[in-house]
Symmetry: C2
Subunit: 193 residues, 2 copies
Amino acid sequence: MNKGKLFVFTGPSGTGKGTILKEVLASDDRLRLSVSATTRGPREGEVNGVHYWFLKKEDFEAKIAQDAFLEHACYVGNYYGTPEQPVNDQLAAGYDVVLEIEVQGAMQIHEKRPDAVMVFVAPPSLEELSDRLHGRGTESEKKIAARLATAEQELKYADRFDYVIVNDDLQEAIGDLRAILRAERCRVAHELG
Amino acid sequence: MNKGKLFVFTGPSGTGKGTILKEVLASDDRLRLSVSATTRGPREGEVNGVHYWFLKKEDFEAKIAQDAFLEHACYVGNYYGTPEQPVNDQLAAGYDVVLEIEVQGAMQIHEKRPDAVMVFVAPPSLEELSDRLHGRGTESEKKIAARLATAEQELKYADRFDYVIVNDDLQEAIGDLRAILRAERCRVAHELG
């Protein structure tokens, strides 16, 4: 029996979910971040085992074959996945665990772990998201267009989640996520129907 | 279609639910308190229409016959009830409405309004509750014994609620209720079923 609670935190790329989660993790000692594995190359400043486990494509596929992932997805040409064992270990130790994953992977978790609390971060609008992605200045127009097309599809899944945080004010969004964690710790576990 | 959300806030007598709710109401301008009706006499400082609508027994029973209550209950020899129309009016106006009611009445709401968010305040223990009731110094031993016996029965309902707040620290309990309200405002409405 798990003592901790599993949270899935997702949303389209560029909605600020990483920033929100970083702030909340820094002030919540019951919450642990699950480190995902990926085959994409590290961005500047990203450390193996901290931000991601950076794997070669063949290693990732071997782990898929071993059923070692809680979820995995292919996104913009790269694999992303959540190694299952570390998550279960943290939950058993009494920590809440949060997965910051892509929407495609989140829906897999929803099937596999119906007890997971599903949180979706949405941009105020697609126009606002476009502005933010351009503002980053790290990607080509072509990549941004692909991200926006993906975001439009992903937003259709929002109403399947337990909670939606609309990030139009970063501090408010951080407060919303903190409130969700705190409220869920008061929540009574009922039999899933 | 209601725009606001209905919250039911209950727990055994002496658990501090009134104190918690008063603090939260003072700092939340989207939340309105439903004023209950009762046939019990006003305590010192209680104002008709603010703390309760103080009704005569025959008037209360006439309103029961008119089906004008969202819930009503008889508790320690007095009627308590929630007039339905004012609640619906506030919800339609976009306010969240909280009912502070007895456990017996809360279970009626749960049946009648399955969309209501059910919050239960529990004492850390029955021993602690006994200490608090004695500490109040406002009631006879006999009344306190009756309240404790009722509390023991009421605690059995806690796991039918959506949230349980254990009030062992008042400020923490206030923070929990604020978090529950905030989280529920991010919550996605799913079909009940």
